[in-house]
Amino acid sequence: MGKMDPLFLALSYFKRRKFEKCITACTELLAKNPYDQAVWSLKTRALTEQVWVDECDGEEEGLADVLMDDNTIASVARPGTSLRTAPPSTADGPSQTFRPSTQSGRPLSGVVRPGSQGGRPGTMDQALRTPRTAQTARPMSATSGRHVRLGTASMLSTTEGPFINLARLNIAKYATQQNIAKALFEYIYFHENDVRHALDLAAQATQAQEFKDWWWKVQLGRCYYRLGLFRDAEKQFKSALKQQDHINTYLLLGRVYIRLDQPIGALEVYKEGLDKYPGEVTLLTAIARIYEGLHDLTKAVKFYKDILHHDATHVEAIACIGTHHFYTDQPEVALRFYRRLLQMGIYNCEIFNNLGLCCFYAQQYDMTLTCFERALSLATDHSVADVWYNLGHIALGIGDINLAYQCYRLALVANNDHGESYNNLGVLEYRRGNLDTARAFFMTAASLAPHMFQPHFNHAKLAHKVGDLQTSYIIVQKALALFPGHVDSKELLKTLETHFHTL
């Protein structure tokens, strides 16, 4: 029996996504003939495929970019036109009182996404101090950070040195060879994570193609995007779209507008994409996410439902609709969505936790504790605090203050940065009459979770009660800054103001 052609074998490995084997086969072939372009190109592709990540979804703004970049045009945009300003007063859906917000000040969503965990700090000090706990660490900047951690092999050490030495690469030569250039670009961009060289290659290649190849324009745009040159990226993407409608290009262009904080512009891009590709799930998801960020929850849910029409197993859509129903007082409906997720094979701590909560609020008490037991048994170090925190809620709901107290304590044992638990513990202490302890808890909660208005309001109320009107006045304003529509805070402020007027 004759041996199979080694190149064919390597290709077969590649097709079956056995990249390690493919790379070894290619390395052997290259040792025999270092100038075999086909093998060389195959190896670059295999190496790239190993580390490839979806950029559109996995991207997160770095700490430094958030702090030091001024890419947005309007610093204080009209409410409802920016992903950064406070929600418009006319926003429909449940208010912040019922639906908590994430650290970034956006409404809590059904899924955790990059970026929704970190807040928008005002100063460098604040940025470095507060949100960098184990769960909320964010990358330093776009050029370092997540891309290096997640997707690239540039940090892996190889025994025989790098496959391609970028410093000695003759970019001008490869840019003209289209058969190699594209594979090489992806290798540099994804595997080596060297955006500057990638940009150089893309720029020369697109020139060699006389600016007629849309693919190179998209890649150029990506490089510019990574470097933070959003305007150049926008130009390239738009030019690429003129030549070829492509879903990915629409998504990337939309990301550019999001980074420029122009959600309306991004929506327009996505909708334009939908005209060309009706019912495209990724575009619909992107639209729904933006509406969610704009506090337009009704529209967001409408789009999530649209997604389910086209893709009935879309986890994000199901989870988000479930969350929406839960927070709009329909736990029974939410329960159905979470059960659907469970049926689809998602079997983790969070789903049982949510199921437990839905059961409790739907008055199916028999299932509640079973669900939470399951959740606790599946919980990781990361999520156990949240489970205990929710159990504390159940305990409060059935009036078992002692159990609630213990639950919150356990939550803090699991994660001593859990601001919500501190706040609730404070309330419990307050009811017990331990005012000093309560105040300490509120203050801790406020410093740990700068996005929450509750600790501020509670603290202000406490200060008002003990007669420290000045403190109360200052702190209630902080609560109102986070949640301008909070009625109780407004009333407290009004009482205080009348007090001061009569003085």
Partner: protein, 725 residues
């Protein structure tokens, strides 16, 4: 006195000339201006004014200001309706490298375009037959017109950097023409892509504003403001301060708009459009930044809004016809009295002179022929004294270091002497006039004044000469006007000259005699020129400025060839000739080897600069990414009191920063070079256009534009040569 109807202070610095007003939500006027640190602020007055309806207090007003980050120097700003179907205004911001049209209401871009020529002036409106409004961007020698989608259906070139733009219905046909003021002192009127008229001014035109019909106001960099009605200048005044902004607004309620001027010393005045007489003035503590008009009190009437650089805003309401007369307060009365008494004084002086003359005439004394003394009331010269003038070309002399020039000779007909000469002419002298007074010992009865006209334009010389006797105290003033022909700086050459390589060839259906007539009238010739017996004309000139030859040849069939290496000069000649002959359309064949060669190399350089720029900016972005990381690391170390590593990070940061700064300098130079090259390209296209007349001119310019867009150098040179691709 007219008092401001509202005053407020925004506590924001305003960059002079970068002020506009827009109704971004379709109903409420928002003052928008560029402020420090490359930001633009928008003042949302209606948030409070709409409710209270009264004056705003200081503390509130600053809270209503929202800032837009542009991150680049704002070079021009305007707001207007760019989309036809929407009622809200779009804000258009120009920077040295790009233009951003921004929908303030929705916080989204309408378009963002690179304009490598820069954006020095922007205006929005309907232009000519275009059915949709355009944002017209004036840059270095070029004008772009963008529609709401960011396409540019309008493009043309102009002679120099555009410094002001406005739209007005100049010829009264119901369609707007584009008025362009540029740094070569010209105001050009464009109908579509074609230049309708050109008006020469004496300085860079910094501002233009339409007034009523075909009337428009203008301001120059030397502090002149004035009003044109079509091609005729109605009035102008000159101040030592600079006019920052001009605007037309009917302040006194008489139905005719006044020209409102904001000056650099903080003065604001309104002048009658017909006479230039001041009807109203006000003073700001600092330089005026801009003047706009908008309904700021929500009462349905537009106010005139004046802003100073310190952020002080004053609004003036057009006064009703009844209250017009109350404006004439004591201040104006006093001024009128002063003016009248001044006139009385002058008249009395004149009367005295006449009396003195009469006394002398009656006494029969012969006083002429000797200088007047302090005791005399008047100096007398013979009645038949005449002042003769002559224009001539002086070839200069090498050894005395006098370049060739045109000179004007003045001489009296008898033994009287010329004490001094004042020549007033636009565009020849610095500051418009020239005073020539020889030393006491060198006084004589004839004087030669050298002139160096920098441009080939016909100039009216207004001459005032003081004539009298030596050491006399009184002189007679002779006033006269001479016209300097357009091409006076070209001397007729009698010796054969080397034939220049560049030429323009064309055929006219005219008699050669008319061409000869034109030459006689536009060149400074001692004797009138004649075509030879067969009707062949061959005449050569030499430029006094550059010593370059210029040859005009014509066959009896009126095939004319103009040979010169200077494309600019050829353009001037073609324009002057077609003007003289009233040509509607003229296509020519031209070749300027040296210019075209240069154009090729310039375009190559542009390519190079673009490539370099791309590389440099990528490098810079990469560096800045690293810098951000370093700052965060260093701050992190500081918070942890890890001084050693903080020192380390900051040290690295310092080095990187130095790199970045040197990189920036390289980029700056690169950009400057790029700008110069682009300007050269645009100017060459403009020159190529000037070689033709009418439709052919427009066609050449748009064909050149297409060739540049397609980066086709060969077709570009072909278009310049033959007029079509």
């Amino acid at each position: 006195m007219l008092a401001p109807v509202f005053t407020l202070n925004l506590n924001q610095k305003i960059v002079p000339g970068r002020v506009c007003i827009g109704k971004y939500d379709g109903a409420h006027s928002c003052l928008t201006a560029s402020t420090t640190a490359d930001k633009v602020f928008i003042h949302n007055s209606h948030q409070r004014l709409g409710v209270a309806g009264g004056r705003m207090s200081l503390s509130q007003s600053s809270a209503e200001v929202s800032l837009l980050n542009i991150n680049q120097t704002v070079s021009a700003i305007t707001a207007g309706k760019l989309t036809k179907d929407r009622h809200s205004d779009i804000l258009v911001v120009g920077t040295p490298t790009n233009v951003l049209a921004y929908d303030v209401q929705n916080n989204s871009d309408v378009f963002y375009k690179d304009v490598s020529d820069g954006a020095n002036a922007i205006t929005i409106g309907q232009l000519g037959h275009h059915s949709f409004p355009l944002a017209l961007i004036g840059g270095n020698c070029s004008i772009h017109g963008f529609d709401s989608e960011g396409n540019d259906p309008f493009w043309t070139v102009t002679g120099d950097n555009v410094s002001s733009l406005t739209l007005a219905d100049f010829d009264g046909d119901g369609e707007n023409e584009l008025l362009v003021g540029s740094e070569d002192f010209e105001i050009r009127v464009f109908k579509q892509e074609e230049i309708l008229y050109e008006m020469s001014e004496t300085e860079a035109v910094t501002a233009l504003c339409p007034m009523q019909g075909s009337r428009f106001g203008y301001a120059l960099a030397n502090g002149t403001v004035g009003v044109y009605e079509k091609l005729a200048r109605w009035w102008r005044i000159k101040s030592k301060n600079q006019a920052i902004a001009i605007y037309s607004y009917d302040l006194d309620g008489d139905g005719v708009p006044e020209l409102i001027t904001g000056w650099s010393n903080g003065k604001m005045d309104a002048r009658n459009d017909r006479s230039g007489e001041v009807v109203f003035k006000d003073n700001f503590p600092s330089t005026i930044a801009g003047i706009v008009e908008g309904d700021y009190r929500m009462d349905g009437k537009n106010q005139l809004i004046c802003c100073s650089v310190d952020g002080e805003i004053r609004g003036y309401q057009s006064s009703s016809p009844e209250s017009r007369y109350s404006m004439m307060d004591s201040n104006i009365e006093q001024e009128t009295i002063r003016e009248l008494s001044q006139r009385r004084h002058n008249l009395l002086l004149e009367l005295k002179n006449y009396e003195e003359n009469q006394r002398m005439g009656s006494s029969g004394e012969i006083l002429s022929g000797k200088p007047s003394t302090a005791g005399d009331q008047v100096g007398v010269i013979p009645a038949n004294t005449q002042l003769q003038t002559g224009l001539a070309i002086n070839m200069g002399s090498e050894d005395k270091n006098i370049p060739p020039h045109v000179e004007i000779a003045l001489a009296t007909t008898n033994d009287t002497i010329i004490r001094a000469v004042i020549i007033f002419a636009e565009g020849i002298f610095e500051g418009e006039s020239h005073v020539f007074h020889p030393r006491e010992s060198a006084l004589s009865s004839n004087i030669r004044v050298p002139l160096y006209p920098p441009k080939d334009v016909p100039v009216d010389l207004h001459i005032k000469a003081m004539v009298g006797y030596k050491a006399s105290l009184h002189y007679h003033v002779f006033e006269l006007t001479r016209q300097l022909p357009r091409f006076s700086m070209y001397a007729l050459c009698t010796t054969p000259v080397t034939e220049p390589q560049g030429y323009v060839k064309f055929k006219l259906t005219e008699r050669v005699a008319r061409i000869v007539m034109w030459i006689n009238s536009s060149f400074l010739l001692l004797d009138d020129l004649q075509a030879d017996d067969e009707g062949v004309l061959d005449v050569s000139f030499v430029s006094l400025r550059s010593n370059m030859p210029l040859i005009v040849q014509a066959t009896p069939q009126c095939e004319i060839t103009v040979r010169t290496d200077n494309m600019d000069l050829a353009g001037d000649i073609m324009q002057a000739l077609s003007n003289y002959l009233n040509l509607e359309d003229l296509q020519v064949e031209a070749d300027f080897p040296s210019e075209l060669e240069q154009l090729g190399s310039v375009l190559e350089r542009v390519e190079e600069y673009h490539a370099t720029r791309q590389r440099l900016s990528a490098e810079m972005a990469d560096h800045s990414g690293v810098i951000r990381t370093l700052v965060v690391r260093a701050e992190d170390a500081r918070l942890m009191s890890d001084m050693q590593s903080m020192r380390h990070w900051y040290g690295e940061l310092y080095n990187l920063n130095k790199d970045l700064i040197s990189g920036y300098k390289i980029r700056c130079n690169n950009h400057q070079e790029l700008l110069n090259c682009l300007k050269q390209v645009n100017q060459t296209i403009q020159k190529a256009g000037r070689l033709r007349t009418g439709k052919s001119k427009t066609a050449v310019i748009s064909a050149c534009r297409q060739a540049i867009k397609n980066n086709n150098v060969n077709s570009l040179t072909k278009i310049i040569r033959t007029g079509s691709a």
